[in-house]
Symmetry: C2
Subunit: 255 residues, 2 copies
């Protein structure tokens, strides 16, 4: 890890690969998981694309996003079956050949030694774009892959979690984006002017307003974000004071 530049905003993109997400059959859980993990690394998730298991569509998304961001993550499509085409697509996007990675092959041979041994499908999971390094997978056999600024991870969320854990602290990031939340049974439409005015008065702060319906009542949580802890606190105090003056009760941390 080289020395990070706290002034620079580091960004990442995520490509979620899989017909099962686009059919509605599977609810994606990787977007939120990758997003939360990136925040802790000082990296902002700036865009997500969900694409089908179609090589040309994966290539297009990978090439658009790896050029536009510091890091590009993919989830899905690195398993043993015919619809797992992420390695091929990323190799094509980067214009490198697909090879059998010797270290990945050795890992899979060990992992499957007492599970019927290696076979054609399992060997697919040792394939990699030439030049890729492995990302350890502590949950099951097949590793993730890193090549340049592109990180190929599993689609199954708990396997992805293990791969992210293995990458923790290894990526160069900037200042971590901090947030504070206050909320209450406050209709956002009654405080829209206040939110806008408080945000304008506090540089380097953003206020997001997230309405909800609960116990038959409307309410909102207001999330203030900044990389500057002092600015964040000042903005939170101003918003809390404004809400109180407008006659609304609110709770630190949101409700």
């Amino acid at each position: 890890m080289t020395s990070p530049d706290p002034q620079r905003i580091y960004t990442a993109a995520l490509v979620v690969i899989g017909d099962e997400i686009l059919s509605g059959r599977t609810h994606d859980r990787n977007i939120a998981q990758v997003a939360s993990w990136l925040q802790v690394q000082g990296i902002r998730l700036a865009e997500v694309r969900v694409v089908p298991d179609v090589e040309a569509r994966i290539v297009e998304a990978v090439n658009a996003l790896r050029a536009a961001h510091d890091y590009l993550f993919t989830t899905g499509g690195i398993g043993p079956t015919h619809d797992d085409i992420t390695v091929d697509a990323v190799a094509r996007a980067l214009d490198v050949p697909v090879i059998v990675h010797p270290e990945a092959r050795a890992i899979l041979e060990r992992y499957y030694a007492d599970k019927g041994g290696i076979n054609e499908g399992r060997l697919r999971m040792a394939r990699a774009p030439q030049g890729a390094e492995l990302i350890p997978n502590r949950m099951s056999g097949a590793p993730g892959l890193r090549i340049g600024n592109v990180f190929l991870m599993a689609g199954v969320p708990h396997i992805t979690a293990g791969m992210l854990d293995a990458l923790t602290g290894t990526l160069e990031g900037g200042a971590r984006l901090l947030s504070m939340t206050i909320g209450g049974f406050i209709p956002e439409s009654e405080v829209a002017g206040l939110l806008r005015d408080v945000e304008r008065a506090h540089e380097n702060c953003q206020i997001g307003s997230y309405p909800f319906f609960r116990e038959g009542r409307v309410g909102s949580n207001f999330v203030i974000r900044s990389t500057d802890a002092a600015a964040l606190s000042a903005c939170r105090d101003a918003l809390g004071e404004g809400l109180s003056q407008a006659g609304f009760a609110w709770t630190e941390g949101g409700i």
Copy 2:
């Protein structure tokens, strides 16, 4: 609804707008909801992009996707606060002015009559790209909007659900994509060759393999998709027979 062409594949894209998804704070539920609803309309969700509350980024995604697909849906950013900029961004993408929609204004005035009346923030929700029609919102006051092939919907999932319900049966679609699932405690890496061969032998069918870990065991569900019911059944039968011959127990409908 004009007469649908059952041979044509109708596609849609979805732009999910919101910093709260990209920060990991909120788990998206609209992708799966919109995807499932589209399938019933005979329309395939072909791509999703998640973008931040930044006008230029929304404009870019809207213009790329509305040209590439029959329909484009957006979720999020149509509320009353300063970070709700979807109407402005779509108007800019379509190069039309933003107007106050008289019918939307009347709806909001009625809705808020006993809730403190209309104010500046609430009036924001009557703004629309010129030429837009309203999508009814049965859950709360502010309507969704349709302009050309672009549909602007709420971010709060149950409000989105009501808007989708109002649109049911109004969009031209093709043949509905059918699916059948079989599954069992079958490691996908032991049947990868079978899956590929069965798919190749059955035109117009796709087989997706979705592994899981449950009760300490690995297994997979295999989803066969086709618009042709007879082809679908034949493919399912062939896969079931192949799995049985390989010594695996499986369950209709998956596990």
